[in-house]
Symmetry: C4
Subunit: 257 residues, 4 copies
Amino acid sequence: MSKDALRRRYEELSQWPLVLLALLFVASYAWGVLRPDLPHPLLVTLRVVTVVAWPVFLGDYVLRLALADHRWRFVRQNWVDGLAVLLPLLRPLRVLSLVRVARVLDRRLTTSLHGRVAAYVTLTASLVVFMASLAVYDAERGAPGASITSYGDAVWWALTTITTVGYGDEYPVTGDGRLVAVLLMVSGIALLGVVTAAVASWFVGRVAEAAQAQDDADDAALLVEVRELADEVRRLRAELADRDELGAQPLRTTGSG
Amino acid sequence: MSKDALRRRYEELSQWPLVLLALLFVASYAWGVLRPDLPHPLLVTLRVVTVVAWPVFLGDYVLRLALADHRWRFVRQNWVDGLAVLLPLLRPLRVLSLVRVARVLDRRLTTSLHGRVAAYVTLTASLVVFMASLAVYDAERGAPGASITSYGDAVWWALTTITTVGYGDEYPVTGDGRLVAVLLMVSGIALLGVVTAAVASWFVGRVAEAAQAQDDADDAALLVEVRELADEVRRLRAELADRDELGAQPLRTTGSG
Amino acid sequence: MSKDALRRRYEELSQWPLVLLALLFVASYAWGVLRPDLPHPLLVTLRVVTVVAWPVFLGDYVLRLALADHRWRFVRQNWVDGLAVLLPLLRPLRVLSLVRVARVLDRRLTTSLHGRVAAYVTLTASLVVFMASLAVYDAERGAPGASITSYGDAVWWALTTITTVGYGDEYPVTGDGRLVAVLLMVSGIALLGVVTAAVASWFVGRVAEAAQAQDDADDAALLVEVRELADEVRRLRAELADRDELGAQPLRTTGSG
Amino acid sequence: MSKDALRRRYEELSQWPLVLLALLFVASYAWGVLRPDLPHPLLVTLRVVTVVAWPVFLGDYVLRLALADHRWRFVRQNWVDGLAVLLPLLRPLRVLSLVRVARVLDRRLTTSLHGRVAAYVTLTASLVVFMASLAVYDAERGAPGASITSYGDAVWWALTTITTVGYGDEYPVTGDGRLVAVLLMVSGIALLGVVTAAVASWFVGRVAEAAQAQDDADDAALLVEVRELADEVRRLRAELADRDELGAQPLRTTGSG
C-alpha cells in the first residue's frame, strides 16, 4: 500500500477515537475549571485525563506527518492541529477537530456553499468562545486586580472581544489571559472576514448570474447560428448529391458514350 | 388545493393583520418601557397586549410550518421568526416582519439591487437598535451598578455596540442586558458584512462590466464572422441553383438526347 | 434649452462660487470654534458668515431640485447635500463639496479606479474627521463631566471612533456630541466597507484576469476556426466559379449546340 | 544604459546592504528602547547607529527618485519608503523593507496568491505591531498619567488597537504615542480589509469556477459544432473534386468533342 493510502486509512480508523478523546479532554478541562470545589480525587482524575490526552494527540500528529507525501503542505494544511500540539495554552483548540466531524455530518444535511459556511462559522466561533472563556477564567481567577471573576464574566468578555467591540469593562491582566485574548481578537478578524466574504460572494454571485445569463444567451444565439449554417451546408451537399443522380448521372453516360 | 398553494394563500391573507399586531405589540412594549409612570390600568392593558400577541405569533409559525412542503427549509428560511417565537427575550424581533412589508412597498420605488439592499440595511439596523435599546433599558433600569440609566443612554449604547466601537462608558451588567448586547454585536458584524459586501459587489461589478463589454465584443465579432460565413454558403447555393437553371438544365437535355 | 441642460449649465457656473463659499464657511466655523478668545467683533463676523452661507446652500439645493428631471433620483443622488441643508448640526458636511472639486482635478492625475478610490477615501475621511472634531469640541467644551476638553483630544477621539477602535478614554456626553459620534461611527463602517471592497475587487480582479485570459484564448481559438472555415467555403466557391469558366461554359455551348 | 535599467541595477546591488542596515537600525532602536539601563557608551553607540542610518536611507530614496522614469508614479509606489524618510517618528517603518526580502524568498516556497497574501499580511502585521510597541513604549514611558508602563503593556495595547478591539485599559496620552496609535488603527482597517478581501476572493473564486466550467463547456460545445461544420464543407469540396475527376472531366471531353 502507498504511504498516502496508508495515511488515509489511518485517518479513517483514528477519526472517531480521536474525536471521543477530544470530547473527553474538553469535558475534563471544563469540569475542572468550572468546579474547583470538587472532591480532590476527582479533580486529580480530570487533570490526569487532560495531561494524558496530549501525548496521544502529539503521536497522532507525528504519525500523520511521517505518512504525509508532502510534509510542508501537511504542516500548512493542519496548522490548527500543529498549534494545539505545540503550545500547551492552545491545547483546548484540539476541540476544533469536532468541526471535522461536523463536515462529515453536514454532507447529509445541506448542499449549498453558503449554508455550509454559515454552519462552520457558527460552530467554530461557538467552540472558540467556549474554550477561550474557560482558559481565560482559569488564568484570571486568582490574579490580583482581575476584572474577570466569574465564568459568566469570562463568556461576556470573550463575546465582546471576538466581535471586536471591546467595551473594556472586563479585560485580562495576566500573561496567559492576554495570550488567549490575542487568539480571540485574531479569530474576531477572521470571523468578520469570513462573514463579510460570504455575504459578498452571495451578492457578487447575484450580479454575476445576470451577466452569466446574458453570456449564456449570447453563446446559445451563436450556437443556433452555427447549427443553421451547418444545415445550410448539409442541404447544399444533399442538393449536389441529388443532381448527381438526376443530372450528373446522365453526364457520365454521355461521357462514356 | 395543494399544501404549498394553501400556505401561500394563508400568508397573503394573514400578512397585514400580523403586521398590524406586530406594530401594536411594539407600540405597547415601547410605551410600557418608556413610561413606567403611566396609570396602573393602562400599564396592565399594554402588558396584556404584549402577552396575548405571543400565542398568535406562535400559532402563525406552527401553522405555516405545518403547511410547508419542506419543513427543514422553512425553519432555516424563517429563523428570525422562529427565534422571536421561541425566546421570550427576542420577541421584540417580531418587529422585523415590518421589513417584509417594506419589501412589498419598495418594489414600486426602486429597482436596483444596491438601492434595495441599502434600504433594507438601514431599516433593519434602525429597528434592531430601537428594540434593543428598549429591551436593554427595561433590563438595566433597576439594576445595581448599572451605567445605562436613561433611554437616551440605551440608544447611545446600542449605537456604539452595533458599530463595534464599544467605548465602554456604558455597558450592560445584567444577564438579560448582556444577551441583548450579544444580539447587537452579532448584528453589528452582520451589518459590517452586508455594507462591505454591497460596496464590494458594486466595485467588482464595475470591473466586471469592462471585462463583460470585452467579452460581448468578442462574442459579437464571432457572430458577425459566422453570419458572413452563412451568407457565403447561401451565395454558393444560389449560384449552384442558378447554374441548374442556366447550365445544368441543358445538360439533362443533352443527356436525354 | 431643456430643463436638464439648464441645470447642467447652472451647476457649471455655480460650482466654483459654491466651493469658495463652502471653504469660507469651514474656515469661519473652524476659526470661531478653535479661537473663542478672538475679539468680539471678529467672532460675530465669523458667526455671520456661517449663518449667511446656509440660505445660499438651501437656495442652491432647491433650485437644482426644481431643475431636475427626476426629483426622487436627484434627492437620492445628492443625499449628502440634502442632509447638510436640512440638519443644522450637519451643515459642516457642506465641506464635502470639496470632494467634487477633487473629482475634477484628479481626472488629470490618475486614471485607475483603485487609485481614484484611495484618493477619495483619504480626502473624505480626513474632511469628516476634521469637521467632526470641530463640532464635537464645540459641543463638549463647556459640558460638565466632559472628557473631550481640547481640540487635540477631539481629533484623537474622532480617529478612535471612525476606526471603530473606541478606547473609551474620551467620549461625548452631550446630545449634540453624541449625534456627531453616530455620524462618525456610520462613516467608520462605510470607511471599512470601502477599503475592504477596494482591496477585494483588486484581488478578485487578479483572479478574474486569469480566467478572462483563458476565456479570451478560447474565443480567439474559435474565431480562428470560423475564419478557416470561411476560407474553405470561399475556396470552394472559387473552384466552382473556375469550373464554370473551364468546364461549365462548354456545357452551355454543348447545350445550345 | 537607460535611466530605468540603471535604477534597476542600482536596486539590485543596494538591496542586501540596505536590508542589513535596516536590521541594524531596528536592532539598535529596539535595544536602546528596551534596555535603558545599558552602560552609557553602548547606549550612545546604539543612538549613533539609528541617527546615521537615516541619511543613508534618504540618499537611497533621492537617488532612486532621480533615476525613476516616472517620478510621480515612483512616489506613489514607494509611499511607505517616502513616509519613513520624511517623518522622523515613522523611521521604524523602514523595517518593512524586510517584507521585500520575504518577497524574494517566498517565490521558492509558495505559489498560490492566497498563500502569499497570508504570509505578507502576517509578516507585515507582526513587524508593525513590534515597531509600534517599541515606539509607543519609548514615547509613553516617562509621561505623567500614562497607562502603558512596560513593554508587555505596549505589545498588548498594540494588539488591541490593530484588531480595533480597543478595550481602553491602556491607551497613549502623549502626542507621539497617539500618532503611533493612529498609524496602528489605520493598519488595523487595512488588515481587516486585506483579510476579508482574501477570504472573499477565495469564495468568489469558488463560485466563479463553477460558472467558468459551464462557460468552458459551452465554448467547447461550440468549437465541436464549428469543427464538424468544417469537416462537412471539406467533404463537400472533396466530393466536388471527385466529380471533377470521374464526371466533370468527361464533360470537358464532351464539350470539346
